[in-house]
């Protein structure tokens, strides 16, 4: 029982992070058909925001609020400067975002210097959950992630803006024909995805190593999440992150972690063969 409970919480931590990072990817991938290789850098920008605020004497929580704004600003600028010119050239966009990713990494290194940056967690210690004890900060992380994802889900399902976005994802030409400003929808949605990635970066900063290159580690896994789950849908995103995150956490405890990682990736490849459009394809009832 104890093992199961800890494994579940470990899995939820990982799933939370993957889902938050994957959200922006699923938006750019599903909505704009853009493979954004600079997405990992939004995570790094979020983490560096917390480091910077803390180094000025601010609290972690202030950093956590600044991080999504920094992410959104970076996303907005990237979309406006580069991406909007490349919507008709997906391959060009891959190359451009990869270049941007390198530029952002090097810029962070130039501004903040080499090496990892220390971030102090807002709370120390563990919480007693009755059956097991678990680090308090991880419980906070899981709750913030769950709240954010729920808010995003409501935004997409219950607001006019969400309706626009879903329309554009399902059929861009038709959306334009009925008068939706797709360019504006793209810009806002992209900045929004970057903001959530920034939030993810801020949330992992007390747990992970804060480095300009840190985003790369999240990018690959998040792409798997999006492809396995089905690009462009929130339920697909949740399904994909639960698959990758849950599987990794369970296997890591049972077998060698290096082997576990290889097995998860193999399983993902097999799944993509069996369900090329992911668990929850766009346009299905649940997307």
């Amino acid at each position: 029982m104890e093992v199961a409970a800890t494994t579940l919480l470990n899995a939820l931590t990982l799933i939370s992070i993957l889902a938050l990072v994957g959200l922006g990817l699923t938006i750019s991938f599903g909505l704009m058909n853009v493979t954004n290789l600079a997405h990992g850098e939004f995570v790094a920008i979020g983490a560096f925001s917390v480091y910077y605020i803390q180094s000025l004497g601010g609290s972690f929580w202030l950093g956590l609020m600044v991080a999504p704004l920094a992410g959104a600003a970076a996303g907005f600028i990237l979309e406006w400067l580069i991406l909007r010119h490349l919507y008709d050239r997906p391959v060009g966009a891959i190359l451009a975002t990869w270049g941007i990713s390198l530029i952002l990494q090097q810029s962070l290194e130039l501004i903040f210097g080499l090496g990892a940056k220390p971030v102090v967690p807002p709370v120390d210690g563990v919480s007693d959950l009755g059956l097991i004890t678990y680090p308090t900060y991880r419980l906070i992380l899981i709750s913030i992630a769950a709240t954010t994802l729920l808010a995003v889900l409501l935004l997409l399902r219950r607001t006019g803006f969400g309706l626009d976005i879903r329309t554009v994802i399902q059929n861009r030409e038709m959306a334009e024909a009925v008068g939706i400003n797709t360019r504006r929808a793209f810009a806002v949605a992209f900045a929004f995805g970057a903001a959530v990635a920034g939030l993810a970066g801020a949330l992992v900063s007390p747990l992970a190593t804060v480095l300009p290159q840190m985003g790369v580690n999240y990018l690959a896994n998040s792409f798997f999440v999006v492809i396995v789950g089905g690009a462009g849908s929130i339920t697909g995103l949740l399904a994909g992150s639960s698959f990758v995150g849950g599987f990794t956490s369970i296997l890591n405890y049972q077998i060698s972690p290096s082997l576990a990682q290889a097995l998860v990736l193999t399983a993902a490849i097999v799944l993509v063969r069996l369900r090329p459009n992911g668990f929850v394809p766009v346009g299905s009832r649940f997307s």
Binding site: G115, R138, P257
Partner: protein, 394 residues
Amino acid sequence: MKKEITRRNVLKSAGALATMAGAGIGMPGILRAADTMKIGLSIPITGLQAILGETLLNCYRLAADELNAKNGIAGRQIELVVEDNQTTTKGAIDKARKLIGQDKVDVVMGTIISLERSATLSVTSRAKKLFFYPTNFEGGECSPYFVATGPIPMQQVDPMAPWITETLGKTVYIMGSDYAWPRKMTEAISASLEKNGGKVVGADFYPFGTQDFGPAFQRINGEKPDVVWSMVVGNDAVTQMKQYRSFEIQQPLIAPLDEVFNKDALPPGVAAGTYAPQPYWMSIDNPANKAFISGFRERFGQDKMVNGIGEGGYNGLHLYALAAEKAGSFEDDAVLAALPSVEFDAPQGLVRIEASNNHCVVNSFVGQAAQDGIGYDVAKAFGTIKPVTEYCKL
């Protein structure tokens, strides 16, 4: 060249600028190529080991400056050719080829983790070029042109195992990064603990870039070992240490940390109380160490820390200088022949190279991190340990 240094002249050419600036601050004129010797440095300035790379580079700079301020090496000024190997195999191979083929360096030094070293060695041993490796070395590689100034597992683990079973406990759980050094160390630890009535109850190796060590801590809570020995290195060690603390694990922790890492990469206090085996600590009390630390801080900043890897590099350069001086030559074979006969009064104590395997006779200490989580107190000193290698008989 009696012109004054004016903006116009400065803009004329960079070459002229160098000449005049050199003469201006009283340097001994321009050195002809034959008046310098070149040391090629392959340093992980970026990538996984970026945290430690900068300190290692600065330790080489310090040693070169010290020698250049006197008489260089045998009258030749040292020119350091610095390359960033990016902590990658490809980077290390490319940079070793460049240093040897293009820069024609007299000796190659540097690299931190195994993959950088193996890659560099694959180039240097074929080129019959001397290569000095400063870092804790898992052993297993042997070449007449390869000199290791860091400790091998038997120099750290063999003296430490009885100390662990007596003071910390009998059962040990190991978690490491998934590469050669932690795996070889684990073999050595298992063998050594068993001889002393202890036991390794589990060992897990995590790929580089692991974001979540939760499952390992879950294992620790399940296995309930007396001691946890971590060999998760580089940037991943930051992740691992932060998460270790958040899980509030009570067992004593042995971790491959040092003063530089604790200060620059870890949040304050995270390393407090952890143990580490090292050949060098900043707290070692002797004149050579005091001079080393003050020289380093004068040059690179009063708040800077040094560590065992940096000291290994510093010692390597000085040992090379002594040997080349004695040989009266920079030929690889001549320096090698003289190398075992020189001794260097290093910050850790007297060190020398063992002729039978080109490994270093080093000191062995267990340090315990102080409450600030940065510096270490020497918890136990084992003295100097001779490297004994089954795999290497030169």
